[in-house]
Symmetry: C2
Subunit: 142 residues, 2 copies
DNA sequence: TGACGTAGTACGTGTCGCGAACTACTTTGA
DNA sequence: TCAAAGTAGTTCGCGACACGTACTACGTCA
């Protein structure tokens, strides 16, 4: 029920825009939107169908269809029928998609490294642990 | 030139998506996109023209035109000619726009409060200070 | 086997962002 | 002083993107 202090809200919102901007910039080099990058990142290490993909992305299934279709048209992912379920489809990375995903991840890592360059190792670890606990919903170890 | 550790990249990227999701959810109650919310937030406490707005949002000026036009059509902002420059336009909140902006800010504050509920006051202050320093580009006080 | 649920697609609508071409006003410099 | 160059915004056409609705096809369960 408690409202966060304005300073906290501001800081987190601004930070989220900064990170999104990094993602958008890295993606733009390959004409990938942030959502496309996210799609690649999710498909990277999961065997996943359209519906579950929609859950991860917070998108309607019909939106996922279009997203995957565009990525497939560009040769980044491919659909393959599920062996278990005749209705279902699995989305996997093509070799090209895998390349781009690796490269993109490296570039994002570099940009985040730059963003956090002013922090020393302790501060960075602290930030990581605080951020991770917010996302996971678990308490932060002290 | 240093790349951030994967854990840091993950935590910050995930956190940014969590915050964006909050913004999107709050906006959705009024059928406002995240960018529309941002527009309101920027116009809230600035006397600003279209070009500068584009800089803040990282958008092309033609995109700003459309953005403002849609917001204006909904009665949230208004354009007024600049007294100093016959070419320029100032974008300001209407009373309705101001209401929505206040309400939206309060709801975002509440949601961020919930997101950070597991942190105690010290941890929250620490997170705020770390995040703020990343965004400002200034060093974090120790 | 028939009813119901689930996975995914097709289609129409609207938002959003871009670049290029355009108008209108301002600034600059000879 | 006045033409050239610059600046603020708009318009237009395009594609990406997200949604809801309606549809097909397959699976499950009684």
């Amino acid at each position: 029920m408690s409202t966060a202090p304005d300073a906290t809200v501001d800081a987190l919102v601004q930070l989220s825009f900064a990170v999104q901007r990094i993602l958008a910039t890295v993606g733009a080099e390959r004409e990938l939107s942030v959502v496309q990058m996210r799609l690649l990142g999710i498909v990277r290490d999961r065997r996943i169908g359209m519906a579950e993909l929609g859950l991860h992305l917070g998108l309607d299934k019909s939106s996922v269809t279009g997203l995957v279709t565009r990525a497939e048209r560009r040769g980044l992912v491919q659909r393959s029928p599920s062996p278990d379920d005749g209705r279902a489809v699995h989305v996997t990375l093509t070799p090209l998609g895998r390349d781009w995903t690796e490269q993109g991840a490296a570039e994002v890592g570099a940009a985040i490294g730059e963003l956090t360059a002013r922090l020393d190792a302790d501060q960075r670890a602290l930030l990581t642990s605080l951020a991770a606990s917010l996302v996971s919903g678990r308490a932060t170890p002290r």
